[in-house]
Symmetry: C2
Subunit: 205 residues, 2 copies
C-alpha cells in the first residue's frame, strides 16, 4: 500500500497493530476519524494515552483500578477469605454481573500458555501463593476459561498451594469445554459459581 | 457494562465510537494495549492526534497530502486536462496501483447519499465544476463505485457541467453492480479505465 501522506501512513500502521485489524480496515477507520470533528480524534488519543500512563492495578488483586486498592478489595462487606482466581478484568466484570459471588478476586493477567511465551512468572501467581501461605485465604475458586491453558494454569496453582490449609474449587463445568468465560450467559455462569466442585473431583471428570 | 476504572471506561467508550467496534471489542482492544509496552499506546495516540491536526488536503484535487499540493497534482508528467473523479483516497490508491491512468484526480470526499445526510454541498463538487468552467479540463472520468449513490453523484455532476465543452466518461462496468471500487481486482479496474464509455451511453445501459 502506497500512501500520499506520511502522517496518514503512520496512523494506519499504528492502528493496524491492534489485534484483528489489517491495513485495509485500519485505513477505513482512520479515514472515518478524518471525516469526524477533530475533537473526537483528540479525545480518543488523549483517552488512550491517559489510560496507559495513569491506570493502576489493585495492590491486592491486580485488577485494573483508578486507586491503589480496587473498590471490591476495599469493600468491607465482601467475604475476605474466599478468593476467585480469574484471567482478567473482563472475567471480574462478567462474574460481578451475575451477583452470585460476594468474595474477593485475584486477577492473574492471563493463562499459562507456552505457545505464546507466557509462563507462570509472567502472571500474578506468586502473590496469590503468598496470600495462601499467610493463611488469609480459606477457599480458592478457580474461574478460568475451560480451555487447555485454563486447566494448565489451575493445575499449576493447585500444585503450589496443595500443602497449605486452603479449600480449592473450580466453577462448575456448566460452561462448555473450549469456550471462554466472557461469552457465557449470566445464568450458566451464576450457577457454575454456586455449584462449584472440589478441585480434586474436577481432575477426575 | 460496569467498569472498575473511569480511565478504562473512557478509553473503551472512545474506542467503541469507531465504526464496527462494539463495547466488547473495544474492551478487548484496550486490554490488548495495556498488555503491550507503554510506548506502543503513546505512539498510537500521538500518530492519531498528529495526523488529525496536521494533515492537509491538496488544494487542487482534495486528496490527503502532507503538502499544499499533492504529489500527483505537482507531477509535471501527468496529463493535466484529464481528471478522474473518485470518492476518496482509497480509490486513488487503487487506481494508482493499476498504473492505467496518467491524468489527475478529483476527490469528492464521499457520494451523494440523502439517507446519510450527505448532499452535494458536503462534497467537493463545486470546485470540480469551477475547474470545468475555467476550461482546464478536457475530459472527466467518473470512477465512483457502481452503486445507487455513485450513479446519483455521477448524474448530479454531469448535469452541472453538460453545457460546457468537456468530454465525460465513466469507467467500464467491468465492476459488478453493487460492489465498491476498492475491492475490485487490479485487472478489472485497469481495463475499466481503458474501456471507459461516454456518459450518455452509460445512461442507456
Amino acid at each position: 500500500m502506497e500512501f500520499s501522506s506520511k502522517l496518514l501512513e503512520n496512523a494506519v500502521n499504528e492502528m493496524s497493530q491492534l489485534p484483528g485489524v489489517g491495513k485495509r480496515t485500519a485505513l477505513r477507520l482512520v479515514l472515518h476519524l478524518l471525516r469526524q470533528p477533530t475533537t473526537q480524534t483528540l479525545d480518543f488519543a488523549n483517552a488512550l494515552s491517559t489510560m496507559r500512563t495513569e491506570i493502576k492495578f489493585c495492590k491486592s488483586c491486580h485488577n485494573i483500578s483508578d486507586t491503589d486498592m480496587c473498590e471490591i478489595c476495599a469493600n468491607p462487606n465482601r467475604i475476605e477469605d474466599v478468593v476467585c482466581v480469574v484471567e482478567d478484568i473482563r472475567d471480574v466484570m462478567a462474574i460481578e454481573n451475575t451477583s452470585s459471588f460476594k468474595g474477593l478476586y485475584h486477577v492473574l493477567g492471563g493463562k499459562i500458555s507456552p505457545m505464546d511465551g507466557i509462563g507462570p512468572n509472567e502472571l500474578n501467581i506468586q502473590s496469590l501463593v503468598e496470600k495462601v501461605k499467610q493463611g488469609v485465604v480459606k477457599e480458592l475458586i478457580f474461574a478460568l476459561g475451560s480451555t487447555m491453558e485454563g486447566d494448565t494454569t489451575n493445575f499449576y496453582i493447585y500444585k503450589q498451594i496443595q500443602d497449605y490449609d486452603v479449600k480449592t474449587s473450580t466453577i462448575a463445568r456448566g460452561i462448555s469445554v473450549g469456550n471462554e468465560l466472557e461469552y457465557t450467559d449470566e445464568v450458566t455462569l451464576g450457577r457454575s459459581i454456586i455449584n462449584r466442585i472440589p478441585f480434586e473431583a474436577s481432575l477426575k471428570s
